[in-house]
C-alpha cells in the first residue's frame, strides 16, 4: 500500500474503513421520518468530516428484521450507510466524540442497538429497554 501511495505521490494513505448505519425506524419499527433520518446523516457526516477528514453517505438501503422476541414480527428499515476511510490512530484519537455520537443517536432515536463496522469487524452498542 505504501508503495502505491509513493507511486501516485498521494498525500494520504488511509487503510481503515469505518462504516456507520443511520436507521429509519425506532426499535418498535415506528418510522423516524425522512427529514429526521437526513438530520442524523448530516450530523454523522459533519462529525466524520471534522474529526476524520471526510465520509460518504450512500442511498437508503431496504432491510427487514425478524424479531424473534416478539412473535417473529417483521420490522422494516431503510438504513443509510456512511463510509469513512481513515486509519487506526485517528480512530484512537477520535474515539470519544465517535462514541458520544453513537450513544446519542441510539438514545434519541430509541434503538435496540447501534451497529458499526471497522474493516471486517462488526460492533454494536446496546440500549436496554426502558425499565430494564
Amino acid at each position: 500500500m505504501a508503495e502505491l501511495a509513493e507511486l501516485f505521490q498521494a498525500a494520504r494513505n488511509e487503510a481503515t474503513l469505518l462504516v456507520l448505519f443511520i436507521p429509519s425506524a425506532d426499535r418498535e419499527g415506528n418510522p423516524l421520518g425522512k427529514k429526521e433520518q437526513k438530520r442524523w446523516v448530516r450530523k454523522a457526516l459533519k462529525l466524520l468530516g471534522r474529526r476524520l477528514r471526510g465520509a460518504t453517505a450512500f442511498p437508503r438501503g431496504w432491510g427487514v428484521w425478524r424479531d424473534d422476541a416478539q412473535a417473529s414480527r417483521l420490522v422494516w428499515d431503510r438504513p443509510v450507510l456512511i463510509q469513512c476511510f481513515t486509519n487506526e490512530e485517528s480512530l484512537r484519537q477520535q474515539g470519544g466524540p465517535l462514541r458520544e455520537f453513537l450513544v446519542e443517536i441510539g438514545t434519541e432515536t430509541n434503538q435496540g442497538a447501534v451497529g458499526f463496522v471497522i474493516d471486517r469487524s462488526f460492533y454494536e452498542i446496546g440500549f436496554p429497554l426502558e425499565g430494564e
Partner: protein, 57 residues
C-alpha cells in the same frame, strides 16, 4: 480487520459481534454490508432475513 479488534470495542464501549465479509468500499461494498445492519428491533431478538438496496435514478 483492525490489528486488535477488541481494542476498538473497549475504546468505544461496544461489543465485538464478529466478522463481516471483505466487501471493500463504494456503493457495491455498502450494498453487501446492508445485511449486517444492526439496529435491532429488540435487544437480542431480531435477525435480518432479507435486504435490497435502492440506487438513485
Amino acid at each position: 480487520m483492525p490489528k486488535n479488534p477488541q481494542e476498538f470495542a473497549d475504546l468505544l464501549g461496544a461489543t465485538l459481534v464478529g466478522e463481516v465479509p471483505d466487501v471493500g468500499g463504494g456503493p457495491f461494498g455498502m450494498a453487501r454490508l446492508v445485511p449486517s445492519f444492526c439496529f435491532r428491533a429488540q435487544k437480542g431478538g431480531a435477525r435480518l432475513v432479507q435486504t435490497t438496496l435502492e440506487l438513485p435514478g
